[in-house]
């Protein structure tokens, strides 16, 4: 039976002329795990908010068509039944927790439903046990990590025992480990409790293989709706859509008849291909041989003078914790260095030491041949650009152009051409007179980046720039960073996104507990690792350990197919 039935649904937000949802027809069966994909502003959130009853109740606007939950028309469902049937978890835990402590938070929705104290107590016990948050029941939210806060938000919805659980990018603000934990919990809820799950998620490589139904939204329309993962992979391949994980995209793009969803399936397919080859070719011919890899490394160790030199840098926070321990680092112009590692490894602290926001306790940092010991952040701002995690922290002026002018004015730069050129290069010229707060998340990030680049810094520091970005926005950011690299800028970026790092890094530094535990070019650092390897490297692990980027994967797979065809032809002719 369809638990959600949508017919000809069209919706306009108040004071808009373009529909946010355009003639949607959709049927979701009970117990399905539905993955909703689409770019920024495609209507994904509007769709799930309609199913959750927030549209049009909370937002207002005009709506046409019908929505039925468990066979009952939404207009006939009273608010209480709606809330009990459908629960929604949003992306930012900070913006959905209401009370100050965990137990009160879990009780909030149950109090609203008018449940008795005994029942509330029982529900809290059950849900906090199931999500392993019992020991935090008396903790204040301020003491919890981002991952735990999101678990509390999820628990507070689950306590209301909804039939349908909607999650709107629940892991976008979390680090990969916490994100993984949330996605595992969601899978368990779906598999073990039969809860219908509707998930909007950007980290497709982690949940794509779990979904029973795939929806793709574009400009308010439902452009793809199917239960077969291979069909969506093929469809995305044909349409050149970025909304499939790299693994599936690789096989779809190289014309495989079967599309694997997991690394295990992918490797089995590859083994079938390589299995037909003679023993000489079994290890596969690397896309880059050892000499080429060495060359790639040497490119990054350029003969130029390093732009950043950190020697024996130590840093202590006021509470006495040693956040950096003996850091030695060199970054050349035209190099992208990616800092990776677990949470609290010291990555952000290192960035803040490099731009002067924090001062090392011991050691020396030189930027562009100048010791920055006695230099203030403001003095360094023209040389070192810093983009923090949240682009909203940058935006307060009425227009995009004014944001760029603000930085120029502070740094006494009078170069309107530079700002114009940057607006053009970052595809922001059409929004130059718009309020940056009215733009989408990807566009806001580009404005924040432009407000930094306008001072033409030689060194660019980026802290988690891909957080919350979808595949296409990530690809666009990667393109911009590679362009800057080509222009000779040095870039240091902190990211947990291994797929992104694989595509753009020249050098990778792994940090743990304040120390550098490994550094090298991406071929050395991002292969042969169980956790710090992109999907493509994992796929070809021990077959060809020199493949990191998607393009290399495509070339190599194509080569394997060609070799196979050659051998078959040889066998046939022999």
């Amino acid at each position: 039976m369809a638990i959600v039935e949508i017919k000809d649904l069209t919706y306009y937000y108040p004071d808009t002329v373009k529909p946010a949802l355009n003639k949607i027809n959709l049927s979701i069966n009970e117990g399905e795990y539905v993955l909703v994909m689409g770019g920024s502003g495609s209507g994904k959130s509007s769709l799930v908010k309609t199913i959750a009853g927030l549209i049009p109740e909370f937002y207002g606007g005009k709506i046409a068509g019908s929505l039925a939950i468990a066979g009952i028309n939404s207009k006939k469902l009273d608010k209480k039944s709606f809330v009990q049937k459908v629960g929604i978890v949003f992306q930012d835990p900070e913006s959905q927790l209401v009370m100050t402590n965990v137990e009160q938070e879990l009780a909030f929705g149950l109090e609203n439903l008018g449940l008795s104290t005994d029942l509330i107590r029982r529900r809290i016990m059950e849900v906090s046990g199931a999500l392993s948050i019992s020991s935090y029941q008396q903790s204040c939210h301020a003491e919890l990590s981002g991952g735990l806060k999101q678990k509390v938000a999820l628990a507070s919805i689950l306590a209301m025992q909804p039939d349908i659980l909607i999650l709107d990018e629940p892991t976008s603000q979390l680090d990969p480990v916490a994100g993984e934990e949330i996605l595992t919990m969601i899978r368990r809820l779906n598999e073990e409790n039969g809860i219908t799950v509707i998930l909007i998620e950007q980290r497709l490589e982690r949940c794509f293989h779990l979904a029973d139904r795939f929806l793709v939204m574009d400009k308010g329309k439902l452009v793809f709706n199917h239960t077969n993962s291979e069909s969506i992979a093929r469809w995305a391949g044909e349409k050149n859509s970025p909304f499939i994980p790299p693994l599936a995209r690789l096989f779809a793009q190289t014309g495989f008849s079967r599309i694997p969803m997991t690394i295990k399936e992918g490797r089995s397919l590859i083994n079938k291909v390589t299995g037909t080859q003679n023993s000489k070719n079994k290890q596969g011919k690397p896309v880059l041989n050892n000499v080429e890899v060495k060359k790639a490394c040497e490119q990054s160790i350029s003969k130029q003078t390093p732009l950043v030199i950190a020697e024996g840098v130590w840093f202590l926070y006021e509470n006495g914790s040693e956040a950096l321990k003996n850091i030695n680092l060199r970054v050349n112009p035209g190099e992208i260095l990616v800092l990776m590692g677990e949470n609290a490894a010291g990555k952000t602290t290192l960035l803040k030491n490099l731009n002067g926001l924090l001062k090392p306790a011991r050691g020396k940092i030189c930027i562009a041949n100048r010791d920055i010991k006695n230099m203030q952040v403001e003095e360094l701002a023209g040389t070192v650009g810093y983009l923090s995690q949240n682009p909203n922290d940058y935006l307060f002026l009425d227009t995009v152009r004014a944001e760029l002018e603000f930085t120029q004015k502070n740094l006494d730069i009078n170069d309107p051409d530079k700002s114009e050129e940057l607006l053009k290069r970052l595809d922001l010229l059409k929004y130059a007179e718009d309020n940056p707060r009215d733009l989408s998340s990807g566009e806001r990030q580009r404005v924040a980046l432009a407000s930094i680049l306008v001072s033409d810094p030689q060194l660019l520091l980026l802290d988690e720039p891909t957080r919350g970005l979808d595949y296409s926005l990530k690809a666009e950011l990667g393109r911009i960073l590679l362009e800057l690299k080509e222009k000779g800028k040095a870039i240091i970026l902190v990211t947990h996104d291994i797929e992104f790092a694989a595509e753009i890094a020249s050098k990778v530094v792994l940090m743990s507990q304040g120390s550098i535990i490994g550094s090298g070019n991406k071929y050395e650092m991002l292969t042969r690792s169980t956790f710090y390897s992109p999907q493509i490297s994992k796929l070809f692990s021990k077959i060809n350990d020199n493949i990191v980027t998607f393009a290399e994967g495509v070339n190599y797979l194509q080569e394997l197919i060609n070799n196979r065809e050659d051998s078959s032809a040889m066998l046939r002719s022999g």
């Binding site: 100050t100 929705g109 001072s455």
Partner: protein, 305 residues
């Protein structure tokens, strides 16, 4: 308040909030009614011992340091402006408008008494701030459906979040070349305007998202219920009994006039009996600290109370 509350593992934190608030309320009430320095000292000793046992001495010292400045002002103002009192300690120069400066023992003692009262109130406030959970307090003020209570709860929850926002935005502004080291006050204030601006815009966006999340969890529904976290334990009854005794003793002593003290025109006589009564009264108010000590020392007692 949320910013300061951090639960510690001792009995003072594990009292029913009604017990804790009643205790603090009575301390403040007695300090306002009683004027005898022995009784004020007794109240200060009692609250001090409870604070020490609650392990918030470091926080208390900050409050005491701030209070010291106020007490000095109280003493100075009282000594300079109050001409009552017969025991002159020092004749000062002639000051236009005030006449000849005359500092009396009575005015000095009165100021010290006021200072003691101020210290009791500040210490009670410190105890309240660090040991009463804001959620529990808000629950006492009204059911969770109450809009004022919800607004207060949200404000306390978002305070640390906004402090984090402030520091982050300031860092970002510095990275865009804004120099906050400006010497001229007006120009310095101007530099802070963008920070406030961003905080306001982000705050509004967050409020909208919070409202949406609350709506999704049925906040607008009628017929809410009330979930209480609080348990009554023997420790609460023991403390309430001690408070009852202290109140009865306090009222009886007030009726007898023992808790009053006349500073002017000459200081009342002080006898040892007043000290004994004040000491006994103070000991009743130290019961929470005694219970906490036993709670920490004897697991058996801990299991019983």
């Amino acid at each position: 308040m949320m910013y300061t509350y951090k639960e510690k593992n001792n009995l003072i934190y594990k009292l029913n909030s009604r017990t804790a608030i009643s205790y603090i309320f009575l301390l403040v009430l007695f300090s306002l009614i009683m004027s005898h320095p022995f009784f004020l000292l007794g109240l200060l000793l009692a609250v001090g011992v409870v604070i020490i046992s609650a392990d918030i001495v470091r926080e208390w010292i900050v409050y005491l340091k701030v209070s010291l400045g106020f007490i000095i002002i109280i003493v100075l103002v009282n000594c300079i402006f109050v001409k009552a009192g017969r025991t002159v300690l020092w004749w000062g120069p002639y000051i236009p408008g005030l006449g000849k400066l005359r500092i009396t023992l009575e005015a000095l003692c009165y100021a010290v008494g006021m200072g003691l009262r101020f210290l009791v109130i500040i210490s009670a406030f410190c105890l309240f701030n660090y040991t009463v959970h804001p959620d529990k307090l808000l629950k006492l003020l009204g059911k969770s459906g109450n809009r004022v209570v919800l607004a207060l709860s949200l404000s306390t929850r978002l305070f640390p979040v906004m402090m984090g926002d402030y520091h982050r935005i300031k860092e970002v502004q510095r990275c865009r070349g804004v120099n906050f080291q400006e010497k001229r006050l007006w120009r310095k204030a101007q530099k802070y305007i963008p920070i406030m601006n961003i905080m306001l815009i982000s705050g509004l966006e967050r409020s909208f998202q919070l409202a949406e999340a609350m709506e999704a969890r049925g906040y607008s529904l009628e017929g809410k219920s009330y979930y209480s976290l609080e348990l009554w334990r023997p420790r609460d009854f023991v403390i309430f009994a001690a408070l009852g005794l202290a109140t009865a003793l306090g009222i009886w002593l007030m009726i007898l006039g023992v808790t009053d003290y006349q500073y002017y025109p000459v200081l009342n006589d002080i006898n040892w009996k007043d000290g004994l009564q004040a000491g006994f009264f103070s000991m009743l108010l130290m019961i929470p600290a005694v219970l906490n000590w036993g709670w920490n020392k004897w697991p058996l007692l801990r299991s019983k109370i």
